[in-house]
Symmetry: D2
Subunit: 310 residues, 4 copies
Amino acid sequence: MSHAATPDYAAVLAQIHAEIEPSLGQGRVADYIPALARVPPRQFGMALCLLDGREYCVGDALVPFSVQSIAKVWAVALALRGAGEELWQRVGREPSGNAFNSLVQLETENGIPRNPLINAGALVTLDVLMDHVPDPVEAILGFVRGTARGVTVEVDEEVAASELAHSDRNYAVAHFMKGFGNIRHELAPLMRAYVRQCAIRMHCLDLCRSFLFLANHGVVPASGLRVLSHRQTKRLSALMFTCGFYDESGDFAFRVGLPGKSGVGGGVAAVLPGQFAIAVWSPALGRFGNSLAGIEALDRFTTRTGLSVF
Amino acid sequence: MSHAATPDYAAVLAQIHAEIEPSLGQGRVADYIPALARVPPRQFGMALCLLDGREYCVGDALVPFSVQSIAKVWAVALALRGAGEELWQRVGREPSGNAFNSLVQLETENGIPRNPLINAGALVTLDVLMDHVPDPVEAILGFVRGTARGVTVEVDEEVAASELAHSDRNYAVAHFMKGFGNIRHELAPLMRAYVRQCAIRMHCLDLCRSFLFLANHGVVPASGLRVLSHRQTKRLSALMFTCGFYDESGDFAFRVGLPGKSGVGGGVAAVLPGQFAIAVWSPALGRFGNSLAGIEALDRFTTRTGLSVF
Amino acid sequence: MSHAATPDYAAVLAQIHAEIEPSLGQGRVADYIPALARVPPRQFGMALCLLDGREYCVGDALVPFSVQSIAKVWAVALALRGAGEELWQRVGREPSGNAFNSLVQLETENGIPRNPLINAGALVTLDVLMDHVPDPVEAILGFVRGTARGVTVEVDEEVAASELAHSDRNYAVAHFMKGFGNIRHELAPLMRAYVRQCAIRMHCLDLCRSFLFLANHGVVPASGLRVLSHRQTKRLSALMFTCGFYDESGDFAFRVGLPGKSGVGGGVAAVLPGQFAIAVWSPALGRFGNSLAGIEALDRFTTRTGLSVF
Amino acid sequence: MSHAATPDYAAVLAQIHAEIEPSLGQGRVADYIPALARVPPRQFGMALCLLDGREYCVGDALVPFSVQSIAKVWAVALALRGAGEELWQRVGREPSGNAFNSLVQLETENGIPRNPLINAGALVTLDVLMDHVPDPVEAILGFVRGTARGVTVEVDEEVAASELAHSDRNYAVAHFMKGFGNIRHELAPLMRAYVRQCAIRMHCLDLCRSFLFLANHGVVPASGLRVLSHRQTKRLSALMFTCGFYDESGDFAFRVGLPGKSGVGGGVAAVLPGQFAIAVWSPALGRFGNSLAGIEALDRFTTRTGLSVF
C-alpha cells in the first residue's frame, strides 16, 4: 500500500499470465466426481475489479467454472444478514489445523465446527440460513446475480447430482452434528441445498464482481446496496484470511496476504479492502485442494504490486 | 481505513481506558511460575506509536512487564535475517488449531512445528538463530533496545530461572523434535536462551516502538534501518495474523483485524501496516492464555476508529 | 484353574448376590433413549451354565432385558461362518483405545474399523452378514433361540424404533465408512438391522446358554452342533478379551480375566473355555458404559473361585 | 486345553522350526541403534519349559540376545511386589490403540500412561520401583538370575550406551510426564536404568525359565519362591494379553491366544497358565516392531497343539 505509483494493472495481469503459462496443468484436477474430473486442466483466467469501476481480464476469465467452496462466503454473508451474531453460537471462527473434511475436531468440540468455511461449518451455516429464507440456494443465486450482474450465474445440476451421489462424507459430518443437536433441518433438503450451492457456475469476472462488496466495507459499489456492516465485513474478511484455504490458509496468507477463498473447481477469489477484488481460475489443484496456478498468480500479483493488507 | 477524519487518538485511548477500568482483574494471572503469579491483576497500560512519530500512552504504559511469547516475533525477524528462506525448511506457517503446547501435531508432522509462534516453533527458531549469532538473547536484546530506544529493556533473571525450573513440557517438546533431527544444538543452552528470551522485561511504550518496523514494511522509522524486506515483513505479519494468539488467533483476527502477538505476561502488540503500532498490557488472562483486557481494548480501538487491515 | 476342590457354585452366586445387593443402583442407567432410561436400576441377576449341563441362577436372572452390544458377538460368529477369513479384510482385530463411538481412528485408518465389537465394526459385520443371509436379525434370532432354548428371545420393537430415532451418530459412522467403500448395502436397511439386533431381549439364563458354545470350543453342548471351528472360537474369544468392554476392556481383563462382552442394557456375558459360561445383568452403568454391578460380580466370582483363563 | 493326548513337544518344535526356516530373514532387524542393527537376521531359537520341569529347545535357543521391552514384565512384577496396588495410581491398564511411543494419549490423559508395557508406562514403573530398591536394574538382574538360573544374564553395556545416545523420544516422554508430576526421580538416573533394563542380554531358554512363575500362578516352580499372589499374576497376565505387543496386541491374542511380551531385539515370551512358558527369538521384525518368525512360530504352536487360554 506504500507504493507510490498506481500499477499498470493490464500489464501486470498480462505478464503474470505469460509467466504462468508454461507451468499450467501441473497438479491434479479434482476427480472425486466425474463432472469435475473431465475439466481440461490447462485453462487459466484472471479478473481484477477496482472499486472505481475499472475491470481487467486475461486468459479464460469469461469461461464458466464450478465455484464449489467459494460459495461458502456468500452463504456466510447471507446467514450473517439473517441471523446476525447468533450464527456464532453454532459455528466457531478458528482455523481448523486439519484436513478440510476432518471429523476429529467435531468430536472433541461437541459438534461445533471450527469455522463456517470448512464443510462442517458450511452445513451449519446453511442450516441457519434455512431458518431465514425459503430456499437458500435461490437466495444465494439472487444475491450473486445482483452483485455480479452476471446473467449466466446458475446451478450446474449435473455437477450437483454428481456431488449428491458422492456425499457420504458430508452426510457423515451432518449426521454427526445432528447427533449433537447442531443441525436442525432434515438432512435430505439440507444436503440438496449444499451440493447445489457448491455447483454454482460462473466465470472469473462475475466471481470477482461478486466479491467487490467485501473490498468496499460491505457495500456493493455498483448499486450502493449495503450487504453487511463495516464491522461484519471486517469479520468475514478475517475469517477468509485465517480459514479460507483449508490447511493451506497460513501459507496463502504468508505468500499472498489477502483475505480470500478457494474452491476445488480451481477458483480463487480475494479482496484488498479499500481497493479491489481479484479472481483467478485454473483447475489443476495442489495437495491441499487449492488451485496451484491460482495461488501462484496471486502471489506474483501482490509481490509485484506491493499491494496486500500488510 | 476508509474513515475520512483522523481520529483524536489521545481521546480514543482515554475513553477505552475508562470503559475497561471496571472489568479489570477478571480472568487469571498466569500462575505456572511464582514470579508471574504475584503480578497484581488490575494493572492496565496502552501505547500507540504512529509512523509519523507521534506517541500516545494511557494507564500503566510505563510499567515494565514480562513479554513472554511476544519475544517470539523478534526472534523470527532475526532468524529470517540470518537464515532467510531456509528457516521454512525447519518450521511451517500454518495455524496449529490446538492448544499452544500440543505435541500431537509434531508427532504426525515429523517434528516440524506448525509455525514459529508456538513454543515448538520458537525453539526451532532459536536453534536456527544460534547458527548465526553467538548469543541469541543478546542479539534480541540489542535489536529491541535499538528499535525501542528503551534503556530499561532487560532480562528478568528471576523469571528466567523460575521458567527454567518449570520447563519439563518445553524440554519434552525439544527432545521430541531432536529425535526427529529438527533441533541441532545442545538442549541446555537452547533452553536457557528460550527462558531468557521469554523473560525480557519492558514497558508498553517500548514494546510498541519495537514493533513499529513491522508497520513500516520492515524499516525502523526512527533510524531508517531496514530490518526485513517488504516481502519478509508481509510474511511475518501474515504469521502473526493467523497464528499470533494460540488457539484464539481466529477470534483475535475476527474481533481486532490486526496482525499481532500476545504473551502470558499479559502483553499484546499489534500493527496496522502503513500507520501505527499499538501495545496493551493487562496481566489477567482468558482461557486461551491471552490478556482479557488487552484484547478487549484492541477490539474497541479498531471498532471505534474503523482502522484495521480490512 | 489350579484350585483343587470344585466350588459350590450355588453358594458362591448367593454370596456374591448378598455382597453386591447394598451397592445396587450406583451408576447410571443408559438414558440416550427413553425406552432404556426407564428401566429400574436396582435389578440384578446372574446365571452360570457349566459344560456338563448344570445351571445356577440368582436374583433377576429370568427377567428379560435389552442385550444391546452383546448381540455383536453372535453377529461376528455368524459372519465368520458366512464369510470366513474374508471378514478380516473389512474389519480389524485391535483394541481401539478410544471411546466406543469414536470416528478418529476410522479417519486415520481409511474406514476400516479397529474391531467388530465397536459400533463401526458391528455395522461392517452386519454389512458382510447381509451378503450371506436374507435377514441378518432373523438369522441371529434363530441362532440364539437354537443355542439358548429360550422361547422368549425376541426383538423389542419399541426399543428398536427408539434407537432408530437416535441413530445420528451411527448414521455418521456408516456414511463415513461408505465414503471409504467399506459399507456396501443401503444404509436404511443396514441401520434397521443394527437397531433391531441391539434391541434383542432375553434373560440372563438364556444369554448364558447362548454363550456356552464359546466355552466349548465352538460346539453347542446341548445339541452337538458345531458353530465355529476350534480356531475360530479361540479368535473370537481373543477379540472379546481385548475389545469386549469399550475403553474398559483392559480393566475387565485385569480384574476378571475372562473373555466377555457387555451391553449398555446392563448385561455382561463371559466364558471360561473348557468350563462354563456366565452372564450377569444389572442396568446401572459406570463411566465407560459397562454394568457396574455386573463387572463387580464377575470380579468377585473369578477372584473367589480362582477360575479365569490365567 | 481339551485335547486328550499330550503333544510330543520335541517333535512339534522341530516341525515348526523346519516349516519356518525358509522364510527366516523376512522383515527388518531393528536399526534405530547400531548395536542392534548388525545382528544377523536369519537366526531362530525356541524354548519350551513345562511346569513339571521338562525343557525343550530348538535352533539358536542358547544364543544370547537383547531382551529389550520384554524386561518391562519383570519390572512390573517387582514394582507390584514393592508398591502393590499403588502402582495403579500412576499407570493405567488399558491397551493404547496407538504406536508404542505415542505422546497423544499422554496429553489427553494427564500424563498417566495407558499401561506399564508401553515405553511411557515402563518409565513410570521404573520411577516407582526406584522408591523401593536401591538399584532397579540390579534388582531385575537378581530376580531374573534367580528364576532363570542363567549365569550369563547380564547387561550389554554397549547396547545400553547406544540406546542412551538415541533416547530423545524417551526423554521427551519422561519430561512430559514429569511436567504432569508423574515422574518423581531425576531423569538422568531414570533413563540410565531404563536403557540398561532394555539391554539385558540372555538366551531363549533362560528367558523361558524366567517367565515360568507367570505360568505357575506366581510361584517359581524350581524354588517354590512366591513372586506374586495368584491374583497379581492373573492381572499381570491380563496386561500382557491386552497390551504386550504394541499395536499388534489384538492380533497376537487373536492368532496365538497366550499372554506374552515382545521386544525389538526379536524375542517373544509367553505362558499358558497351569502348563508352560515358551520363548522364541528371531531378530527380523514386522511393521509393528514384533518378531515376524517369533509370532508365526507361536501361532503354529498353539494352533497345532490346541493349547491356548481359550
